[in-house]
Symmetry: C3
Subunit: 301 residues, 3 copies
């Protein structure tokens, strides 16, 4: 049984194998796995959890939810025992969101239970990075040499971290931008900083991040209108984008904070395309984890 | 994709088409739709939510629940964006209960997502009104000229509001009764007030409402025994009912408050029949919304 | 429709009929019942709830959950009305966990709804006792004359109570042991007390109970290390066990409190086997309750 713990484990070949699987499923080739997937979420989630539920049920799987378990998820040991119990019950896959870093005790895969990281604190969100890369792949055919701008609340963003690593793996040039208080020193090895107006004008894709006020200290909380003017994607800035460039956002969007409301539904926007692609990528992942295809090294930590 | 937002959108022909669909399903003709229905409930619910879940699963649909989302449901915009996300994920129908009035931003239907109002504050509960009317239709063959008494906590009742409108549409005479502090001026155009003892003796159906103490100011809270004596359906009052008259209640019942406990299970009672009919009516609604049949004007606001 | 309310209702023949059913299912004979099972849990649960969900879905059933209902579960009347509503909706089985004793109003079975006690306060947990007995049956072929030690927090344990009764029914000798403040006078008719070190050395099975600190007064709360040394199953004590003796635990385990962490995964441990057997036994129970086979006297109180 294979698992998806971190984008650090993926190489280019693995990713394209996943994309081809997702495309097969998009064209209607949907194997029926059966069995049960457990949703183990220590933080609330709408889009990621429902996306996984849709992916699992389209594969003929049943769902159980362990939301209430939240309190025990901060203790890695306890989570590990819970997962061993789920495995003994016969659950095939556990989709796990943790409030903190992925527990060290879960760095290895279980023999009969696929583990999928559905977001761990501010650190990783591998399935989001995979669906974002799939969206770029569908747009441009390849990510090699493409310029992707990740902008805004980088410091608090697991989406930024996982994307920065995976986009590098796939040969893209990754730029970050945004207000200084949201900069993240740990991303310097993967990304290049650009002033915001410069970044908008060079990117093939402008990926706006959600301002996560819930993770901020009071002094850093963003005021909507000011933030939009200084650091958001406004109509004026959009007009300086490359002709082929697209707008992305992992959601949920703060309209008129990091992005002007009208641009959410603009023809350049791929925001809802990202959501739809999320189901396809997660179907392909579940299938690969449970029924094979994913190679052992993908899960070696 | 059609939606069910308000009984104001329904005419007599629409309602009877729905009833015929529900009867087909009662006789075992149950199409398998597949796909997924989302339960989006900002207020707790047992019977309505489980009823919709049963209806959806009998149509072969999967279910996802967004209960935790409650907090964002007061903001209409956020709910709209959540629904757009559900639509992009591939959800076919969203069954929505709101704590307040139905959001203005959701007055139009979505292209690929059926919206069903499962109760909005004290304002509307269209599927309850439809199942009540279906129960009356099964009892009497027609609602034309039938006298329906709605009694009790009218002021706080979305059931009363939706029933008053729909029963008028179907040609019934609608009476209201109950304690003065629970009267609702906004229902005067649809209903006629009668003293409680008179009302009991004229109705073909006596529809008792639940005293919703959770929505009351302290000074209005009903004392069970006093309320039953003054404004409840007692054994003595039941004996003055028309010979053919039935007892209805949307549930959950406060036994020995608005109705004597023994009458809940009386042969005149259709309370559990209403519950069973709720599943049939909601199956018919889901089928009409997702697979067609419901005409466009039903959702024009 | 039959129900599972208490192990007091089971005789030896009933239990072995259930075991044979569970074995048939283990070998792959899994009838598809369809319909819906409701999970009605007033206390949080991971393993029991997911185990029942797995059992029900493997029988082709759909699931609905009424967790939020917790608050109304202390009122027996209200729970009864909720169950009548579920029955009218068409739910086939209700799996119920109550914070207190099983409500008196639910001592009879419903005509079309199977009731299954999934744990009632500190009083009963019949399906846990049945899966424990099934595990012993698979180990030893019979429970007749086998010595089973139940050790630790007996006073707060519904598992101990249900096991003591059922193991007696099946002809086993049942011993209890543990710290004096955790002794339970009400079990004296079913069990014999032994000093802890003696108990370890005589049992065919050593069933360690979870120290339920959440049910204790402050003065009784167990300190992990002290408890393990005085009353836990340590490596040293394990070496005094009978050669054929096995280790059991209903879970969740407090590692290094009632049992040394290394023994949880020891070859003598049947802890995960118990979990896996739980699904089989609950499948057999659901099938017997809904589709027949369970005789009427099993539910007569």
């Amino acid at each position: 049984m294979h698992s998806v713990l971190s984008v650090n484990h993926w190489n280019r070949e693995d990713v394209y194998a996943l994309f081809h699987q997702a495309e097969l499923m998009q064209r209607g080739t949907v194997p029926q796995i059966g069995g049960m997937a457990a949703m183990v979420f220590a933080e609330p989630s709408t889009r990621t959890m429902v996306s996984f539920q849709m992916a699992a049920t389209r594969l003929g799987m049943n769902i159980c939810s362990l939301d209430a378990l939240g309190s025990s998820l901060s203790k890695g040991e306890s989570l590990e025992d819970t997962l061993r119990t789920l495995q003994a019950i016969g659950v095939s896959a556990a989709v796990i969101r943790t409030g903190h870093d992925w527990p060290r005790s879960l760095q290895r895969s279980f023999s009969d239970l696929a583990l999928i990281n559905a977001g761990s604190g501010v650190f990783e969100h591998p399935t989001q990075a995979l669906l974002d890369a799939f969206t770029l792949y569908q747009e441009f055919g390849t990510l090699e040499g493409r310029r992707v701008v990740i902008a805004g609340d980088v410091a608090h963003s697991r989406v930024a971290r996982s994307n920065a690593v995976l986009l590098n793996t796939l040969g893209a040039e990754v730029y970050v931008s945004g207000p200084p208080q949201f900069a993240a020193a740990d991303l310097e090895q993967w990304t290049q900083w650009l002033p915001w107006d410069d970044a908008v004008s060079v990117g093939d894709a402008i990926m706006m991040l959600r301002v996560q006020n819930e993770r901020h200290q009071d002094r850093d909380k963003a005021n909507g209108e000011d933030y939009l003017t200084s650091w958001g994607l406004t109509h004026e800035r959009m007009q300086t984008m490359q002709p082929q460039a697209i707008i992305m956002h992992p959601g949920p969007v703060n309209r008129d904070v990091e992005i002007a409301s009208e641009l959410v539904d603009h023809q350049r926007s791929r925001i809802l395309k990202q959501v739809a692609n999320g189901v396809l990528v997660r179907m392909a992942l579940l299938w690969q984890c449970i029924k094979g295809g994913r190679r052992e090294q993908l899960v070696s930590a």
